[in-house]
Symmetry: C2
Subunit: 421 residues, 2 copies
């Protein structure tokens, strides 16, 4: 999928070894390598295997371009011409890959993939395969763990593009978070590439970019069914705000709300009356954001639209979500808007597995979690240590016996392990 | 540089905000955003700014393709046609960027970049800029910290491709590690793209793929100056091993060495007589790897070649490097090979800032450090929290005042801060 994944995306030593094998006439020796990890990440009991499809794609297209060979000549100037002719000729038609299906739960010291073929060629696959599997499996596992702790009914949104390891780190993160059980991503490019649902509304900057309601020039809004038109939706919102301020069940919980925020919400609702979701913590969640949201949502309701909900991006998410839910329920009761109490609450401030678990223990009213940094960087453990080990050459078993007993690995025959692809 | 960096590599909310601005007729409002971070990473006092060149490249080429607009139409089906026509028309010719030079040491709450332009357009730059700057600055800083702790004379090699966040995570890691003060990378693609020196020799698999010396068929090696040819380099190596085993100053430190390892080293030396560097810890560093290396190195010396050195990838690196250095010095003295005592020692097992610092405190004889996982994943802190904040719109100051005082940020006028690009 990524045009930067080429046979040169590998460590130089794969080429120097290939040359040494070639010089020794050993390059066609039939070798078997196992790809496995020694320990599940995040102090957990399982890993979810990701990246296989990209590995298959990689070997299906494995072929050196002329300019790549030319670069290798400059990188390895003492190698003989015959070696570069050999490199030009190779593909992976003689490589067999056996693997556990992508998305499976996998365990330490059991091979995820077994790769058999000419030793020089299979060695060239080591770094790309590890690069494609390590992070993919790590973030898929991380996403699955977030799903487990959040529970099935919650909506999980991946928001990590800006904190990932550069552009493709972000695209991989979105893809594998979805595989690990997330519902959607904010990453438009990933949505386009992989068909992942994409989500997003507005940021704090949008809210603070408005100075007041008089900035809104086009105030008209047609009703949902097109049957009528409100010429001054801004006044409708203002009227609702006055009604909420005067409601006996809400009296005293807030006074004047922030007008720049109200203008931003109203403006956003005019642009997206069908999918109004407001970020309510730019100024003060309970004294401004939530009442402003409700005023706009009730005005939309008058026009036949159902507001989606709010997003909290700071503060005590358990407390604020519970207070917001109470407010929504009071609105439902006070103004007889059926279902308003169930309006969606999204939370998104530096969330991770532990904070969601803590929220669950405290009790909360969050319906959707937007998770970024901790998900995509796998902050709790930033790397999965997949390795690629030679286990057999020319039918002879080969394994490096480490002095560290925790690293000792027993290979088992291919035939009983996994399906050939 | 990365073809995946397109105007779609952004969060969906940038587009929904752009539409809301456009609907409100505010999209051309002149806005100023600051890009800054709140805290230096790794509990440190500085950050090195990386990613600016890629940001400049991004805005220089910022233009939507027709198929990208078509995708956005499906993603935002309720938006009016006029908005997509507007998107098709925009570029960054009306955007001004002021920035601190890339590679500078930078500090919390001081803008690295100030971006001024039409609010809808600048907002579309937020996610790509953060994605290009956050990880770049983080890994550059991490590399610089490794350089500081290792000291100037040491050779620092980046070996992280297989543990990075997928392919482009690895390429970014190599590029910015080099900017942060590393000397070379193992990543061939990064070497090609950015002209970074590339390094690499062989892995454990290469060593264990050999069964014994009889596998070596072509045993001839011409001397460095081409004046003579050794028809049986294998025997020359074996003779040297016997001499080392019999040397009084080394007597008793080892017995029989591993023959598969000796075959691998000999084979590698035949392929790369000018740049022989051996990984010596496949079996036993002091009883097999180092003596085998020395036998091959002394045979090469007979033919006018100077061996480069050894690599240690496991065990107690301080102890093993010191013992290896003693062995090299004993060889120099015993056989009168001037300079042999200074043969390079590279270490590469899960190294990071702390382990290098600990090695320094213990004392060691390592000349080069190969650093992977901890460098590229920025394990100690996997994300830099750069943010992109609206500070001014239509000449009016705007800033979100957080309830968390540690987040409060004071913007200062552009003119005194940084150079316009």
């Amino acid at each position: 999928t990524n045009p930067m994944v080429t046979p040169l995306l590998t460590d130089l030593y794969q080429f120097s070894m290939a040359y040494a094998y070639w010089k020794a006439g050993k390059h066609l020796d039939r070798a078997v390598f196992d790809l496995y990890f020694r320990k599940s990440p995040f102090a957990g009991e399982f890993t979810v295997f990701g990246g296989l499809e990209e590995c298959i794609r990689f070997i299906a297209n494995f072929k050196f371009k002329e300019e790549e060979i030319n670069f290798l000549r400059t990188a390895l100037p003492t190698c003989e011409d015959g070696f570069f002719e050999y490199l030009s000729s190779i593909d992976c038609s003689d490589v067999e890959v056996y693997a556990i299906p992508e998305g499976s739960a996998v365990f330490p010291k059991v091979p995820l993939m077994i790769i058999e073929g000419p030793v020089a060629v299979v060695q060239l696959l080591e770094t790309p395969f590890l690069s494609l599997v390590n992070y993919a499996s790590l973030v898929t596992t991380n996403a699955a763990r977030h799903r487990l702790v959040a529970g099935k009914p919650k909506n999980l949104l991946e928001f990590g593009l800006r904190r990932a390891q550069g552009p493709d780190g972000g695209i991989s993160a979105s893809r594998y978070s979805y595989m690990g059980g997330f519902d959607a991503t904010s990453n438009v490019a990933a949505g386009r590439l992989f068909g992942i649902p994409i989500r997003g509304t507005h940021s704090h900057a949008f809210v603070s970019s408005f100075l007041g309601l008089d900035e809104i020039i086009d105030k008209a809004l047609s009703s949902s069914d097109g049957s009528n038109k409100c010429e001054d939706f801004v006044s409708l919102v203002e009227n609702w705000l006055v009604k909420i301020q005067g409601a006996s069940s809400l009296r005293g919980s807030f006074g004047e709300t922030n007008q720049s925020e109200l203008a931003a919400f109203t403006s956003y609702a005019l642009a997206f009356p069908n999918s109004f979701l407001a970020l309510v913590d730019t100024y003060d969640v309970m004294r401004s954001g939530v009442p402003n949201f409700c005023a706009v949502a009730l005005a939309l309701n008058d026009m036949g639209y159902k507001a989606v909900g709010i997003r909290l991006d700071s503060g005590d998410l358990a407390y604020l979500s519970i207070e917001t839910r109470k407010f929504f329920c009071a609105i439902e009761k006070e103004f007889g808007v059926v279902g308003f109490g169930k309006t969606n609450i999204t939370a998104s401030n530096d969330l991770n597995e532990e904070t969601i678990d803590a929220l669950n223990k405290q009790g909360h009213e969050v319906d959707s979690f937007g998770i970024g940094t901790y998900l995509v960087t796998c902050y709790a453990q930033a790397a999965l240590g997949c390795v690629f080990k030679l286990v057999e050459i020319n039918k002879q078993p080969r394994i490096k016996l480490s002095e560290d007993v925790t690293k000792v690995y027993m290979s088992v025959p291919i035939s009983i392990q996994s399906e050939k692809i």
